[in-house]
């Protein structure tokens, strides 16, 4: 990428390129790169090209993410920070970003974003969560299994539900949301939420408790691809007739590579996934042609979407601003809020707390929200196949191969 320092707009990205979720970080970085290349090829933002700066946040704790934000703000003078998720800092990175008055779009999928924004809208004007809060996973999951049941695609042998949670706030919130709503749709939580300290590859103890509870559905809300692959393989050592739902991390191709044939039949959900339509497929092809690594285009789409949305909003606002340029960046933030962008992951439509609206969890209109997608790993080629919700489903649900 040509470096024309005087006219380029520096854009920061805090990505875990090392550590437990490096698979995600690499996909996030690639998503940012391909989006910036596309934006620059179209003339940039009002004629100014974007230049990306990446900082590794491998440890995923508050210190590493705050340090990354400070480096991007003070050394690279970035006008915006746009990246996927960083789970550890619990919004601590909002503080240096709010002080600098720049735009920040992330995919942290955290409920606490709502509370932070609503606590001081003036201060956090620039902070946007480009995907819906983790909380929505709970509702969406219960509606999904109820839909399978009510449409007779699957007849559960009982109404019992087991929930295993990782120890990150994201996993705990999702587990609690599932627990909270289950009874409304006829499900009985008979095990958990059992919080397992993660990361871990050892699930035997938790699985023993789950098997003893004899559930028809098992949900694991931890989200590390490798850990989930071990969970799936250990479940299949002594399977029961239960649906297996794995949180987000099983979206990764690395999950399938590690779990192999054991992954067939597993269900995985994401509120921020690449759509299995012509737009999504075209992106996936471009991605594959551009990056010949093992990263997953389905993960990269979210940063690609956020970067394009930012570029459009900034152009509508009349340009970007460096740290300290609160006034101009407020205009950019206003355009982000008012402009719905149909991206490769669906429609990004910010709600009053500057978080993306979720379809069908918080809107019934697919044109006004990011779809909460459910995939099932199907077939000999172990393909992630979208089975819900309509209109993004491409194939029906299949009874998992471990059912006897």
């Amino acid at each position: 990428m040509a470096h024309e320092e005087s006219t380029e707009i520096p854009i920061g990205s805090m990505v875990p390129l090392t550590g437990a979720i490096a698979d995600d970080g690499i996909a996030f970085r690639n998503g940012a790169i391909i989006a910036i290349e596309e934006i620059n090829a179209s003339g940039g933002i009002l004629g100014r090209k974007l230049h990306p700066y990446f900082v590794d946040t491998g440890p995923q704790n508050a210190a590493s993410v705050i340090a990354a934000a400070n480096m991007l703000i003070h050394r690279h003078k970035v006008h915006a920070i746009i990246n996927g998720y960083n789970i550890g800092p619990q919004n601590a990175e909002y503080e240096p970003i709010a002080d600098a008055g720049i735009i920040y779009i992330h995919q942290n999928t955290l409920l606490q974003h709502h509370d932070t924004i609503s606590s001081d809208r003036e201060r956090y004007f620039g902070c946007f969560m480009g995907d819906p809060a983790d909380y929505w996973y709970g509702q969406g999951f219960i509606k999904f299994i109820s839909w399978l049941r009510d449409t007779r695609q699957w007849t559960p042998r009982n109404e019992r539900l087991a929930i295993i949670s990782g120890s990150k706030p994201y996993s705990i919130v999702i587990a609690r949301a599932i627990e909270k709503i289950a009874h409304m749709f006829g499900w009985q939580v008979v095990c958990g939420p059992r919080i397992v300290q993660t990361p871990t590859t050892s699930w035997q103890e938790a699985l023993a408790e789950v098997r003893a509870a004899d559930p028809a559905v098992i949900a694991n809300t931890h989200f590390y691809a490798g850990d989930l692959a071990h969970f799936q393989m250990q479940f299949l050592e002594n399977p029961i007739n239960a649906l297996i739902y794995l949180q987000y991390g099983a979206m990764h191709d690395s999950f399938v590579r590690l779990a192999g044939a054991a992954s067939e039949g597993a269900i995985v959900g994401t509120v921020v996934g690449l759509l299995p339509d012509a737009i999504g497929q075209a992106f996936e092809e471009r991605y594959r042609a551009r990056f010949r690594d093992d990263s997953t285009a389905r993960i990269a789409g979210q940063v690609h979407a956020a970067m394009h949305h930012y570029a459009i909003a900034a152009a509508l606002a009349g340009g970007t601003a460096p740290p300290g340029g609160h006034q101009q960046n407020r205009v950019v933030a206003a355009r982000l809020r008012s402009t719905i962008y149909r991206s490769v992951i669906g429609s990004v439509n910010y709600d009053s707390n500057q978080a993306a609206t979720s379809y069908p969890n918080s809107t019934n209109d697919p044109s006004l929200g990011l779809p909460h997608l459910f995939f099932q790993i199907q077939g000999r080629d172990l393909r992630h196949t979208a089975i819900a919700p309509h209109p993004y489903d491409v194939a029906p649900f299949r009874i998992p191969p471990w059912f006897r």
């Binding site: 704790n61 601590a92 606490q112 709502h114 509370d115 120890s167 706030p169 069908p360």
Partner: protein
């Protein structure tokens, strides 16, 4: 004899001719002497007969026989009109064209003068006024009816509240308090819903109440109905059983709940012994929600009329209560609004089963109660209990507010012993403790933590907050195996440290 005055050039007919009011003058024998242009214009289709000499009766007869009059039989109209005019009583008649004229008779020296004017606009105004008055009367009657009915419905949750308050005034056990408070909350929200509906009730007749059809989990409604009526049923020695359902209905949540509440309320009122069962049956494209009781039952004759307005079953006396017979009628009208049908099956002496049939909804669109998500409702700390010791009231309040916003139950105090007592009295343990380092009387936060761990276990996670940045106190805290945060406490740091201590104590320090 004085000279005669010169003949005046004044001609009354010249003047009258140009007046738009129709004027016709008849001699004492009722023969036309003359008419002005206004009269001729009003009766333009009869100009061939409006000639001097024609009798009043012939004129009226022509008017009637030429179908100018929209008043039924012409002969009788002519007779009646003549009679009125001769009696100096004005008459009104409508023409087939839709216009209305008023003819007024006047005695003049020459005989009788008739003045005719077009009163169409005036009449329409009268009619509009009458119609408006009738609508207002109906609306007023309707409003009165519904106000009475609503006051009847409001008594249900109020009665429940009275029972619950009475229970609270007694020796309510700590463990029973959350359930009682929740029941109170539901009763209050039922009153809230009813008052909300009441604001619109006057619009019901005019179609002003619009049903908001959505996909509604039946269980959410049944839960509320159960909580609302459980205590009333218990008070009467009845067993109320609600069989939960996983089904989703296509309906208006508030209106459907009102219908079911009415069914259950009636079931409790008219059942003396036994039970009330609420449950659902799924059809191909509908859900039948039923409320069955072991009450007095309703005769076949009354079953057909029980949904009529103001209809009350005379053989079902209600000691101490006077229903207006509107509850089931309102239920029926609400059911119509939401595209549902209601019905009853009953055997006198054995019980009744009221049911409402609603279309099946779509689970994906099911509206769950919370529309706004927050950490208070569903955050990682929601429902946890924290013990807070802080002597500065401002800081104590600020920290309490922050923790409560995260859904945490906070027990805050200046005195650690007082906080401990509060937990011991409740029979619960804190999930985490936060204490100031420097407390009154030279007490240290480290000592507070020792006290708390003696009472609640050595594994109790504790955080000490301090304004001291000197090495000595910080070392003391660390040496005691405790974690500290420097004032002012940053919410993200507190959140991260709390998460670490509660859920990931074996992982590296997040801060």
């Amino acid at each position: 004899m004085p000279d005669a005055e010169p003949a005046s050039s004044f001609s009354p007919w010249e003047v009258l001719r140009d007046i738009s009011l129709g004027i016709a003058i008849f001699d004492p024998d009722e023969h036309l002497l003359g008419s002005n242009a206004g009269f001729d214009a009003l009766y333009g289709s009869m100009v061939d007969v409006i000639k001097p000499g024609i009798s009043l009766e012939a004129l009226l007869d022509t008017l009637a026989t030429r179908n100018q009059i929209n008043a039924g039989a012409s002969a009788s109209w002519v007779t009646a009109a003549l009679s009125s005019l001769r009696g100096m009583i004005p008459i009104r008649h409508d023409l087939l064209s839709g216009r209305s004229y008023e003819i007024a008779p006047h005695v003049v020296p020459a005989g009788i003068a008739l003045t005719v004017q077009d009163v169409t606009t005036l009449k329409r105004g009268d009619a509009a006024l009458r119609e408006a008055r009738d609508i207002a009367d109906r609306a007023n009657q309707s409003k009165s009816r519904f106000l009475r009915a609503a006051s009847h419905d409001l008594r249900q949750p109020l009665a429940t509240l009275k029972i619950l308050i009475y229970t609270c005034q007694g020796n309510l056990e700590e463990l029973a308090r959350p359930e009682t408070l929740r029941a109170m909350d539901v009763s209050v929200s039922v009153i809230e819903d009813l008052l909300g509906a009441l604001l619109n009730i006057g619009q019901l007749d005019g179609g002003g109440i619009v049903a908001h059809i959505d996909s509604v989990p039946i269980s959410a409604i049944l839960d509320r109905v159960f909580i609302q009526f459980k205590h009333q049923a218990e008070q009467k020695g009845l067993k109320l059983t609600v069989v939960s359902s996983s089904l989703v209905a296509s309906s208006d949540r508030i209106l459907l709940e009102r219908v079911l509440s009415n069914f259950v309320s009636n079931a409790i009122r008219y059942t003396d012994v036994g039970r009330i069962l609420v449950g659902c049956r799924r059809g191909r494209d509908h859900i039948q929600i039923m409320v069955a009781d072991t009450g007095r039952g309703i005769s076949a004759e009354n079953q057909s009329r029980i949904f009529d307005e103001f209809y009350r079953v005379v053989d079902r006396p209600e000691p101490g209560q006077k229903g207006l017979g509107l509850g089931l009628n309102i239920a029926k009208r609400f059911a119509e609004l939401i595209g549902a049908t209601i019905s009853v099956q009953s055997n006198p002496g054995r019980g009744s089963c009221f049911s409402i049939r609603v279309p099946i909804g779509e689970v994906w669109r099911a509206a769950v109660a919370e529309t706004a998500v927050s950490e208070f409702l569903a955050g990682q700390f929601a429902g946890l209990e924290v013990l807070l010791v802080e002597d500065d009231q401002l800081l104590r309040d600020a920290l309490s507010n922050l923790l409560q916003r995260w859904g945490i139950l906070v027990t805050a105090s200046i005195e650690p012993e007082e906080a401990v007592e509060a937990f011991l009295a409740r029979g619960t343990k804190p999930d985490l403790a936060i204490t100031d380092y420097r407390l009154p009387g030279g007490l240290r936060g480290t000592e507070v933590c020792q006290l708390l761990r003696r009472n609640f276990g050595a594994e109790l996670p504790c955080i000490v907050v301090t304004g001291d940045t000197d090495v000595q106190p910080l070392s003391e805290i660390t040496a005691a195996g405790l974690r500290y945060l420097i004032k002012p406490v940053s919410p993200p740091q507190l959140r991260a440290l709390m998460h670490h201590l509660l859920y990931e104590p074996d992982l590296p320090d997040p801060i």
